[in-house]
Assembly symmetry: C2
Homo-oligomer: 168 residues x 2
């Protein structure tokens, strides 16, 4: 490896660590403000386009995880429901809800610091929730039952034939 | 089974089907308004406490699924970040993001009509996304890499020792 490539690598490392430190800083600030110990930023090239802090208990909103808020703000600021070309830096591995949001928002890449095991060690359910996903529907902790499928199917057919729809 | 029990069953069936028809009605309305073909209601006893329609493309918000919106509104209306004692009726099986939200919000029960396979058949990724959850982190479609764990751990320690926190 020549010294130019080494310099590029170290610049890229500094860039990444800078954004991760911003996410970690948001998580630290959040604890001080009475929120959950999680922070996240969405980055496009060299710009932060969305920031989030876990505000579940402050907002009475179980979906107000740092990543969800950062993704929503990034989409708002870019005027798009997709985040192609963007990266997420989050102070902790995304929980299943946030991993779902990462997939739907089509982010390019995720960087994380604490893991689901670290979160479990301080009393959060991320790791236990991941286990739910590999279980068959009828063995999950929250019962899920099918109802009125035939009536619901008509809406999917209407969607298929609708000309005004925006697929995503 | 005596006739009283049969009557109770049929009243309970009618109750459930009524709420599911409201969720399906919201999904139908949503297609007409240019949104996604999904609707959901959160119910406590005999009252709808939150309604949602898929508004991803209308709001430029990839997290604006029917279930997420219904859960957020229910929490707002009940002034709580938990939905113990509530049921979710959704026109389609929750995607992984929404299943995560169901778990975090501690709903008692989920009723659904269309399945993830029905959603896949009209072009939605719910089923493919479920497969991502059973893969090891390094085999997923969106790369996830760990960074600065030691710096992030300090926030978790601060949370553990914080006296002003609201655990959830």
């Amino acid at each position: 490896m020549n010294s130019n490539l080494r310099n590029q690598d170290s610049t890229e490392d500094e860039r990444r660590c800078g954004f991760m430190r911003e996410a970690i800083g948001l998580s630290r600030e959040s604890v001080g403000a009475g929120g959950g110990p999680f922070g996240a930023v969405v980055v496009r090239a060299d710009d932060v386009v969305g920031r989030g802090q876990n505000s579940v208990t402050l907002l009475n909103d179980p979906t107000a995880h740092a990543e969800i808020i950062a993704i929503r703000r990034a989409c708002e600021s870019l005027g798009s429901f997709h985040l192609h070309g963007c990266e997420l830096f989050t102070s902790c591995e995304p929980c299943p809800m946030c991993l779902g949001a990462v997939l739907w928002s089509r982010l390019d890449r995720v960087w994380y610091a604490n893991s689901r095991a670290d979160a479990a060690a301080i009393g959060f359910d991320d790791s236990a929730f991941y286990e739910e996903f590999s279980k068959p529907v009828d063995e999950r902790r929250i019962p899920m039952t099918r109802l009125l499928r035939d009536e619901a199917r008509a809406t999917f057919e209407a969607w298929q034939h609708s000309t005004g729809k925006t697929p995503y």
